[in-house]
């Protein structure tokens, strides 16, 4: 595609839109949006395939995600929602002329460093989101807007840790 990509929309416009989607989710479904829970559901199903359903179901960490056995991810609200989010993200990128295979990184590092950092950051977020029972979607947005005390604890410690360590990660992004 030769066209230059469309500019992004205004942040507040996007934010209010996401807020209305979240509100619709509260009203229609009775709970908010999420992302990390879908990862947990997929991992649980993968564990059940590798170890067998009975062994996987014996683990307290995995069992809650397998109410319908191996079919659970296909009946899990969060998995369907996140699959929709991926479709929506792709549609938006495609129509804006931004869908392309690329590695986005800071100006001072190469592709390999960026990929290692991406995976490492993902591992930390996977651990953190499991421990906190949610991520930026399920805790910060969903719980934050419902004024859950633990969600605000999550928001506070997430950004505190990010800002405290940002000077040490400067090489990755500046």
């Amino acid at each position: 595609m030769n066209r230059s990509p469309q500019p992004y929309i205004d942040s507040y416009f996007a934010g209010v839109g996401i807020g209305l989607v979240l509100l619709a989710s509260y009203v229609l479904v009775g709970h908010g949006l999420g992302a990390s829970g879908a990862f947990a559901s997929v991992v649980a199903a993968g564990t059940a395939i590798v170890e067998g359903s009975s062994r996987a179901g014996a683990s307290q960490a995995v069992a809650p995600y397998l109410p319908n056995g191996l079919m659970s991810p296909f009946r899990d609200w969060l998995v369907l929602e996140l699959a929709g989010a991926m479709l929506g993200g792709w549609l938006s990128a495609f129509f804006a002329g931004r869908a392309r295979i690329a590695v986005e990184r800071g100006p001072g590092i190469g592709t390999t460093t960026r990929m290692v950092a991406a995976v490492a950051g993902g591992v930390l977020m996977g651990l953190g989101a499991k421990l906190a029972r949610g991520c930026t979607s399920g805790q910060a947005l969903t719980g934050g807007a419902l004024l859950s005390a633990g969600s605000w604890m999550f928001i506070g410690s997430c950004f505190l840790a990010g800002y405290v360590l940002a000077p040490f990660a400067r090489r990755l992004w500046r």
């Binding site: 229609l28 549609l91 991406a118 940002a166």
Partner: protein, 187 residues
């Protein structure tokens, strides 16, 4: 009074709400890791702006719909509070967010748009969940500790819910003013 859909209806609504969520994240520039990371260096504050305008919108909507009797907020699932696990989990998550430049939802959007770094974050997340599950027998006691159940900020602070809503709204609006100044200074 509007009551939540039955499970089947909810499963139909899920991908539709997801498409709108993913579309808006991508349109807002949250599928691009260097832009998200700019939040931590105060060069690009779209993470704060998008997150808090979404939070305030949903908070005000939920509050007033409940107040006027269109919904019953007690039917909406409130994430339970576990103080220490959420403090430590949040900190680990924040460090991961800083290094990865994407969070779980935005990494999926980035990956869907063809960004291989987004795919790397998705893979790392899955690995992190596997690690957590594998170490669950050792972390379970901590994971279940300092449980406070369904607890809101108005349970912590001795003020009514409406005042907390007003305070969060005012703080967010103040934050937006500061964010605009910071971005103008850096550009």
């Amino acid at each position: 009074m509007i009551t939540p859909l039955r499970p089947e209806g909810a499963l139909v609504a899920a991908p539709l709400l997801g498409v709108a969520f993913g579309w808006l994240l991508e349109r807002g520039g949250l599928g691009s890791a260097p832009r998200l990371a700019g939040q931590f260096y105060l060069t690009d504050l779209r993470v704060f702006k998008v997150m808090f305008s979404a939070l305030v919108t949903a908070m005000l909507g939920a509050f007033w719909l409940d107040r006027f009797g269109f919904i019953d907020l007690r039917l909406v699932e409130l994430p339970e509070t576990f103080l220490l696990p959420q403090a430590l989990g949040g900190a680990l998550f924040g460090v991961g967010f800083l290094i990865a430049g994407l969070c779980p939802g935005t990494s999926c959007v980035a990956a869907a748009a063809g960004r291989l770094d987004g795919l790397g974050v998705v893979g790392g997340m899955l690995g992190g969940v596997v690690l957590f599950n594998g170490s669950f027998p050792w972390v379970e006691r901590f994971y279940q500790s300092t449980a406070r159940g369904a607890m809101t900020l108005s349970d912590v602070m001795p003020v009514p819910r409406g005042l907390v809503v007003a305070m969060v709204t005012a703080a967010a609006l103040g934050g937006f003013v500061v964010a605009e100044r910071l971005e103008r200074r850096r550009s």
